[in-house]
Symmetry: C2
Subunit: 341 residues, 2 copies
DNA sequence: GGTTTAGGTTTAATCGATTAACCATGTTTA
DNA sequence: TAAACATGGTTAATCGATTAAACCTAAACC
C-alpha cells in the first residue's frame, strides 16, 4: 500500500485538528461546525482520496462491522446458497463477513471461532459440528453474540434459526403414503447432531403412524466421514429388502448427490419401481431423469432471520431468540402416485 | 464481550511491563528474557485466557493476515468450490478470508473492493465483472496486492490465474469430431469478459479447422442478466437448425444448469440424437440420465496457485505472475461416439 | 579499578481513529 | 453589567498492541 492518507494528513492540509476532521466526516456534532470549514474538509478528504482505517476505528469504538460465518463446508451448495443470502442481508446492514468451514471437525471449528473472535467480529453465525456444546458454552461465558444456524442443541439455551426437521421429515413420508407407497425407506446420517436426529425421528414416527412393520429396518444410517461406499451399500440393502421398499428418502444433499449418481446406474426405475425424495434444494434434483421431489428449506428466510437475530443479539445480548422455520415439499415426478394395486 | 484481557492485564498480574509480555508471547528477543519470568508470564496468559487483539496488532504492524475474496456469486457451486480451496490454502498460511459477491455488477464490485481495502486486508483475490479495468488500475496505483482469478484483461499487466479457455474449448470440439459428430453448436455468453470470449473463439476456430460451414450460426450468445428464457430459446434455435446440429456445448455451469433442465424435458435423446459437453464440474452432470462430458477446471490447483501468487505478490509487490492452467476433458456417456454413417 | 558486555527489563512513541472535556470569542438575556 | 449561552474549534486521553531505545545490575575484561 502506498501513502495511505489519515485524518492527520487531511487536518494538516486543511489547517485544522484531526478531531475536527473526524467530526466532520462522521457527521457528529453537525451543528457545532462551521459550514465552510466542513465543506473545505470534505473537499480535501475527497481530493486526497481518504478512506477510514477500519482497524483503527474498530479498535477505538469496539465495533468492527464484521461477522463470522462458520458452516461445515462452504463448497457444499447448501451452505454456499445460505452463505449468499447471509452475505446479502449483512451487506444491507453494512456488515462484512469472514467465513470458514469446519468440515464437521470440532477442533477446526474451535480454531475458527477463536480466530474470528480475535479479529473482534461483532458476532458469529455458526453451524457447529457434533459435540461442540462446550465451545458454545464458552462463547456464552465470554459474552460473544452468536446465533446457531441450521442446527442447535436442545439442552443449551442459545439463539438459533433452524428448520423444523421433524415435521419436514414426517410430512415427506405422509406425502409418500398419500401417493400409494407402502414401504418408504430412508438413508440418513447416524451422528448425534440434533437436526439429523429430528429428521430420523420424523421418519420413524410417520412410519409408525402408518402402521408399517419393522420401521427400524427401513432407516439406514451412514457415517458422515466416509459416506460414498456406505451410502451405496445402504441403498443396496434397502433395494433388496423383503418386503420390497417402494420409496426412498435421501436424508441430506450430500447423501442425495451420491445416491442419485448411484441410482442413475442401477436398473431400478423412478418413479415406477421406487419413489424418491431428497432433502434440500439442488440443481441436480431437476436434472435427474425423473425430477426429484424435495424438502425445500427456505434458505433466504433462514439467512435473513439469522442476520436479524444476530443483530438483535448484538444490540441486546440477554435476549434469546429461537426460530424453527417450516419446510415446503416441492413435489416433482419422482413421487408420482402409483395406481392402487 | 465481557472483560477481555489485554497485555496490560497480564503484565499487572505478573508484575512486569506490557512490553515484556509481548516479547514473551511472541517469542521475540527470546534469549534476552529470563526463563523463569517467561514461564510465569506464559502461565498467567494461559490462565487468564489471553487472546491477542488482532485489530490492535494489525494497526501497529500493518499486517492483518486477512484476505479478501470477491467472486461473482458465492452461491454458484463453481465459485463455492473454488472458495473452499482458497480457504484451505489460505488457512495453511494463517490467513482468514473475507468474501463478497459482485453479481457481475461493477458498482457492487467496486464497493466490495473498497470495503475490504478499508479493512486493511493484506491482499485481494478477484473475479472482476466486465468493464472493471479502471478499478483494477486504481488498485495498482494504490499499491494493493491482488491476483485475478478465473478471468483477466489481456491489455492490463496484472497477476492472474485462469484457465486456458481457448484450448479447453478447442479441444472439446475436437473431441466431438473424433466421436463422429459433424455439426457441434454452443450456447455461451455474449459479454466482453475475456475468458468467455476465449471460449467462444476456441469453439469457432475448431469449427473452422474442421471445415464446418457457417460456423457463426452455431454459436448462440445469451445475456448474463436474464438468461433462463434466452438459453431455452437458443437451444430451440440450435435444435431446429438445418443442417441438423448433433452436439451441444454449454458454455458455463449456469448455462448448463438451465440447459440440462430444459433438455431433460425435450424429446431429443442424449447421446444418440445429440452429444453434450458442459463447462465446469458439477454434481448434476453425473446425475443427468446420460452423464455429461465436461471441461474440468483444476479448481484445487487454481485455488492453491491463487494464494501462492497472492502471497508472493504481497512479499514482492513488483513481481508479476500470470498462469494459465490447462483443463482436462472428463469424458462421459453424453459424447459417446456415433457409428459412422 | 574503570570500562565493556551481557542479561533482563522498562520507557515511551506509535499505528489511526474517536470523543469527553476544555478554551475562546461573541451574543443574549435577566 | 454579569451571567448564560451559542459558536467553532483544540487538547489530550484512549483503544491494545509492537518495538526501538534506554536503563539498570552484575559479571567479565584489561
Amino acid at each position: 500500500m502506498r501513502k495511505v492518507v489519515s485524518l492527520k494528513d487531511i487536518a494538516q492540509k486543511a489547517g485544522v485538528s484531526a478531531a475536527l476532521v473526524s467530526y466532520v466526516l462522521n457527521n457528529t456534532r453537525v451543528n457545532r461546525v462551521n459550514k465552510e470549514t466542513a465543506k473545505k474538509i470534505r473537499a480535501i478528504a475527497e481530493e486526497m482520496n481518504y478512506n477510514v482505517n477500519q482497524l483503527a476505528r474498530g479498535l477505538k469504538t469496539n465495533k468492527t462491522f464484521t461477522l463470522g460465518l462458520i458452516v461445515s463446508n462452504i463448497g457444499n451448495p447448501f451452505s454456499a446458497t445460505l452463505a449468499r443470502f447471509i452475505e446479502n442481508e449483512s451487506a444491507r446492514h453494512q456488515y462484512t463477513t469472514l467465513f470458514g468451514s469446519s468440515d464437521e471437525n470440532k477442533k477446526k471449528f474451535e480454531q475458527l471461532v477463536n480466530t474470528f473472535v480475535n479479529r473482534q467480529v461483532d458476532g458469529l453465525i455458526l453451524s457447529p459440528p457434533a459435540g461442540s456444546e462446550d465451545i458454545i458454552g464458552q462463547l456464552q461465558d465470554r459474552g460473544v453474540p452468536f446465533v446457531l444456524l441450521d442446527r442447535y442443541y436442545p439442552g443449551i439455551p442459545a439463539s438459533y434459526i433452524a428448520l423444523d426437521n421433524y415435521t419436514a421429515s414426517f410430512e415427506a413420508v405422509q406425502h409418500l403414503f398419500a401417493g400409494g407407497r407402502k414401504r418408504p425407506a430412508m438413508v440418513s446420517y447416524g451422528n448425534e447432531l440434533f437436526h439429523i436426529q429430528e429428521r430420523n425421528r420424523g421418519f420413524i414416527e410417520a412410519l409408525k403412524k402408518n402402521k408399517v412393520t419393522a420401521p427400524g429396518n427401513l432407516l439406514q444410517l451412514v457415517d458422515v466421514a466416509d459416506d460414498k461406499k456406505e451410502i451405496e451399500n445402504a441403498i443396496d440393502t434397502l433395494l433388496s429388502a423383503v418386503p420390497r421398499v417402494d420409496a426412498l428418502i435421501l436424508g441430506s444433499n450430500t447423501i442425495a448427490t451420491c445416491g442419485l449418481r448411484y441410482i442413475n446406474k442401477l436398473p431400478v426405475k423412478v418413479p415406477s419401481d421406487i419413489a424418491l425424495i431428497s432433502f434440500d434444494q439442488a440443481e441436480m434434483l431437476d436434472v435427474f431423469y425423473s425430477p426429484v421431489t424435495y424438502v425445500k428449506q427456505p434458505l433466504e428466510e433462514i439467512g435473513r432471520l439469522a442476520i436479524k437475530t444476530l443483530l438483535e443479539t448484538i444490540a441486546n445480548p440477554k435476549g434469546l431468540i429461537s426460530i424453527k422455520v417450516p419446510a415446503t415439499l416441492v413435489v416433482q415426478e419422482s413421487t408420482k402416485a402409483v395406481s392402487a394395486q
